[in-house]
Amino acid sequence: MCLGIPGELVEFGQEHEDLAVVDVSGVRRRVNVGLLADEGLRPGDWVLVHVGFALSKISEQEAQAVLDYLQGLGQPYEDELDALRGSDIV
């Protein structure tokens, strides 16, 4: 129900200002961006899509912060990981 999917804004709509098109892995859907009217959205921005509306603009910086946090935690395991990944290739 609260399913939200990150998508990249690729186009703004002709029909009315709130319409835009997002791309999710090559899949496109029209979304309403009216809830993000304050965000100065531009093509290339990523948004979270929920029931046909863009609910939130995704911050790349904050996204990276989580990954950095994990990176910091995980360093000792990296070598082991690489080894594991290698063995998974058929």
Partner: protein
Amino acid sequence: MTREQQVLDRIERMRRRKPVVREERITLAHGAGGKATQTLIEAVFLEAFRNPMLAPLDDGALVRLGDGPVAFTTDSYVVSPLFFPGGDIGDLAVNGTVNDLAMCGARPVHLSAGFILEEGFPVADLRRITASMAAAAERAQVTIVTGDTKVVERGKADGCYVTTAGVGVVEQPVTLSASGARPGDAVIVSGPIGAHGAAIMLARDDFGIEAPITSDTAPLHGIVAELLKVLPRHVRTLRDATRGGVATVLNEVARASEVAVVLDEERIPVHPEVTGVCELLGLDPLYVACEGRFVAVVDGEHAGQALDTLRAHPLGAEAAIAGTVTADPPGLVLLRTAFGGTRVVDVLVGDPLPRIC
């Protein structure tokens, strides 16, 4: 045994009980290929028609006619829309029946075609459908030898329904059955999954989604013949992963063979656009239909050879070993997730995608 385990065992016993249709009326779920369909088939059709040839509920029946074993199968096609990227109801109806014969290890030979047309259906569309059936039949080297046409009043169909039946000859002795899987076997998927269901969903345009996805509909008798030529005695089970997808097919295998199937999420081939559609709509590609992909359960020791054979065929270029068969827990399909966890992959409940075939 923990209390949780006791509960789970009790549930498994429940699940093995004779299926009962509780609903008073048919719902779309009864046609979705999942649990409701299985229940309907077992509790109504199998119950009424009970006989040893029908009982395995395989893709087709192996019967003796005169001297030799013959495979016999049927499917009705009600796909909406009738025309979709990558195909139409016509080639779907030919390929689908060709594939069910191929899954029995037979060489498809002859098809019948029954048409139910809705009053008002454009004759030009019918010509387009029959042309594509003819082309598909030629591609699959089968002949449409007999047929029937009915017309129903406007509002009593959806343009055109096609029912094909097919007969094929079993030229080399193979024993293929959903009940043939054994621990140690490998589970092979013949190519990227879910493209047909995703293409239909987009073509229906209910969700305003666009993606360059085309149906995978294709005749599989050729690639199957290659596989059986190389490994006549080491292929246990062949199933085309149609309604209900790979998950449903493998549940049938796990249940019929009383084994567990353990899939490896990372090894299951899925095209990124199909993944994208599934994410957007909250679907799982394991349940999305293919019309040109099959699952083969192969003796583990010959899995590599099987994979090489499939990959040498144009329809199998992206084939993959997606999992293995184990003894426990019998009757279940498990998935090792890409995240490193494990979960059950159950039979589909409900109907995420109406009328994909």
